[in-house]
């Protein structure tokens, strides 16, 4: 997750809220001097007009579901004032006002809610320009690789003055990943196709994860070798011919909804019987996974990683949580 901090340039970590943050207070005077220099530089810079001293934000609006989850997970939930229309987790968001989403942010409502920090997605250029005009601080976020998930948790923690909590959360995630890696050490890595969408009831418009992005990284972590690792794209449409040619040994198919009745899960799984020669179909290793967390690169990636690992290596992964 690449991130830049629009309103304050690059001086976030050391400047501004440092004094209130116990984590930063211990870093010594060299750092403080550096921070002071950076602050001066920022104020002198042409963009300095937009840089304001950063108080700990208390009314955060998040337009990015994965960041919303991160905020709640690190204990900043009570400071979240509004969320995007796609937010569904944690359950607390149900009570919060909605302010549009990626393509249709409701600027009027955002302004009305008087936020002191708006979390925007990197591509929302219009929104960014407008918020800047209104001098509302922003935190810019983009999805990236799996490694960026913990990086951006720490980063966000610093930005909202909760560096300690964020570090703890990130460490939990890292630890869970390390645990999975340890369990799967030396295990064979089956050739796996990660399907992120297709037409229900048929094998049309098969959308798979290429060799880039957090889903690919999760598959890698969970001990699977992505059959499309060579294609450096987050997602791609493939034909049935390509599926046959790449002959995956395992197919993991993601459904971002709650699981339907078992009969219809079975029916969807049987759709793959149209390609009986694919090793995964032949050996009954087609796994349909259901859950809203599967596409959200927030702290719940741990659950997704464990679910993948369990599907790929049922004998090596414990059941339960």
């Amino acid at each position: 997750m690449r991130r830049t901090d629009r309103d304050s340039g690059f001086g976030v970590r050391g400047s501004g809220p440092g004094g209130r943050d116990s984590g930063l207070g211990t870093r010594g005077s060299v750092r403080t001097m550096l921070a002071a220099t950076l602050t001066v530089l920022i104020l002198l810079a042409p963009m300095g007009a937009f840089a304001q001293p950063q108080a700990q934000p208390k009314r955060i609006i998040s337009l990015v579901p994965s960041v919303t989850e991160t905020l709640f997970a690190m204990g900043a939930g009570p400071r979240v004032a509004a969320v995007s229309s796609y937010d569904a987790f944690p359950p607390e968001v149900e009570k919060l006002p909605r302010v549009g989403a990626l393509f249709d942010p409701d600027v009027e409502r955002i302004l009305f809610l008087r936020p002191d920090l708006v979390i925007v997605y990197g591509s929302q250029t219009d929104l960014k320009a407008r918020l800047q005009r209104a001098s509302i601080p922003m935190y810019e976020y983009r999805h990236g690789s799996l490694a960026d998930v913990t990086g951006s948790i720490r980063d966000l923690g610093v930005r909202i003055g909760m560096a300690d909590a964020a570090r703890t959360l990130a460490a939990t995630v890292d630890q869970a990943f390390a645990d999975i890696r340890r369990r799967l050490k030396g295990a064979p890595r089956p050739k796996t196709m990660l399907v992120i969408g297709r037409e229900p009831g048929s094998l049309r418009a098969i959308n798979v994860s290429g060799g880039f992005g957090f889903l690919h990284d999760l598959l890698d972590l969970a001990g699977g070798a992505n059959v499309f690792a060579d294609v450096k794209r987050e997602s791609m449409l493939v034909s049935t011919e390509t599926v046959l040619a790449r002959s995956p040994e395992v197919i993991i198919e993601l459904h971002y909804s709650e699981p339907p009745v078992p009969a219809s899960v079975e029916r969807e799984r049987n759709t793959w019987q149209l390609l009986p020669g694919v090793p995964a179909v032949k050996t009954h290793r087609v796994h349909l996974l259901y859950g809203g967390e599967l596409v959200v690169p927030g702290p719940r990636v741990v659950i997704t990683a464990q679910t993948f690992a369990r599907a790929l290596h049922p004998d090596l992964m414990p059941w339960g949580k």
């Binding site: 229900p200 794209r233 493939v238 034909s239 046959l244």
Partner: protein, 342 residues
């Protein structure tokens, strides 16, 4: 008079005997050749080797499950859209008419969008809910346009038909946007993909479901060409020469619409086939519908099959939507046609 007719008849027969075998051969070669081309090298000897069980014969599976159904779908959709294009151009007396002019494809698209967004998961004989819903949508659009054309006139006004079709097209497009807007991002992505056209049907079920409708339409098309020749010039003149204008118009409208609905529900709204192919064919064989219609059907099959070979090989292993290829070829061609007409 009769002499002239007889002479014209002979000339048509001669052109028919010349061009239909030529286009037939082209279409046949395309359908036979397309499954041989692909990103994965397959060995023909292995494909037809009966000693290897089908379940273990990846070459045969690629040939029979992935490529052959695609080529056949391309041929069916291509010939249907091209022939429907010819019929609509004659019926509406407008050389720029396409099978999608009267809103059939928009109705079809709306049906598909609703099925995707409402997450309909039913499927029957390999035909998914999306395919079924898109066919139902096309029927709905045809019914509305026809009712409008009938309500306005006691007869069958092609002008009203055209206006109703164009209006319905934009109305449905607005509804499609609305449905897409309400969809979540993964569904929106799928609806977009559907609109780009896709011939990878993975099996023969969907083809067999669409085939009867197309066959019925083609039987109707076979009955039409003579009347279309007269109709495309002037409805009154056609009537004075003994053509039951209303009946011909009705048969043309329903058969071409049904064919379009079947083709779109099978392969998505693949644009420009219904206009490029008939015009290219006219440039070669002249304007007589008795030759243009069968030649267009055959050439349309070949054209779409070749476009689909490009679609699956150009950016492999990433699949390129075939609708984009036909549009890239068809858009400039359409403009050229438009300029050339003036």
């Amino acid at each position: 008079m009769t002499d002239r007719d007889a002479a014209a008849g002979t000339s048509v027969r001669r052109r028919l005997l010349l061009w239909v075998p030529i286009f037939g051969a082209v279409a046949f070669l395309a359908v036979i050749g397309a499954p041989l081309i692909g990103t994965t090298p397959i060995r023909l000897a292995r494909v037809f080797d009966r000693s290897i069980p089908f379940a273990d014969n990846v070459d045969a599976q690629i040939f029979f499950i992935a490529r052959l159904p695609r080529a056949l779908t391309g041929a069916l959709v291509g010939s249907t859209l091209a022939a429907a294009g010819v019929v609509f151009q004659a019926l509406l007396r407008n050389p720029l008419a396409t099978p999608f002019t009267l809103g059939v494809s928009a109705g079809s698209a709306l049906g598909a969008m609703l099925a995707i967004t409402l997450r309909l998961h039913l499927s029957l004989f390999g035909v998914s809910a999306v395919t079924a819903a898109s066919f139902i949508g096309s029927i709905g659009a045809v019914a509305i346009v026809y009712a409008l054309a009938r309500a306005r006139h006691r007869g069958f006004s092609t002008n009203v038909l055209l206006l109703a079709g164009v209006t319905l097209n934009s109305f449905f497009s607005a509804l499609i946007l609305f449905v897409q807007y309400l969809a979540d991002s993964s569904e929106a992505m799928r609806t977009m993909r559907w609109l780009m056209g896709d011939l990878d049907v993975a099996g023969y079920g969907p083809i067999l479901a669409a085939l009867p409708l197309c066959v019925v339409a083609f039987v109707a098309f076979a009955w039409l060409p003579r009347a279309l020749n007269l109709l495309s010039l002037d409805a009154d003149a056609a009537a004075s020469r003994g053509v039951n204008v209303l009946r011909v118009q009705r048969v043309a409208f329903f058969s071409a619409s049904m064919a379009t609905g079947a083709a779109v529900s099978l392969g998505g709204p693949i644009g420009f086939i219904g206009i490029i192919v008939p015009h290219l064919v006219r440039l070669m064989v002249g304007a007589d519908h008795r030759v243009v219609l069968p030649a267009s059907a055959l050439f349309g099959a070949a054209f779409l099959v070749v476009c689909d070979v490009l679609a699956r090989t150009a950016m492999a292993p990433v699949e390129l939507p075939v609708g984009i290829i036909t549009a890239v070829i068809g858009g400039p061609f359409f403009l050229w046609l438009l300029v050339r007409q003036r």
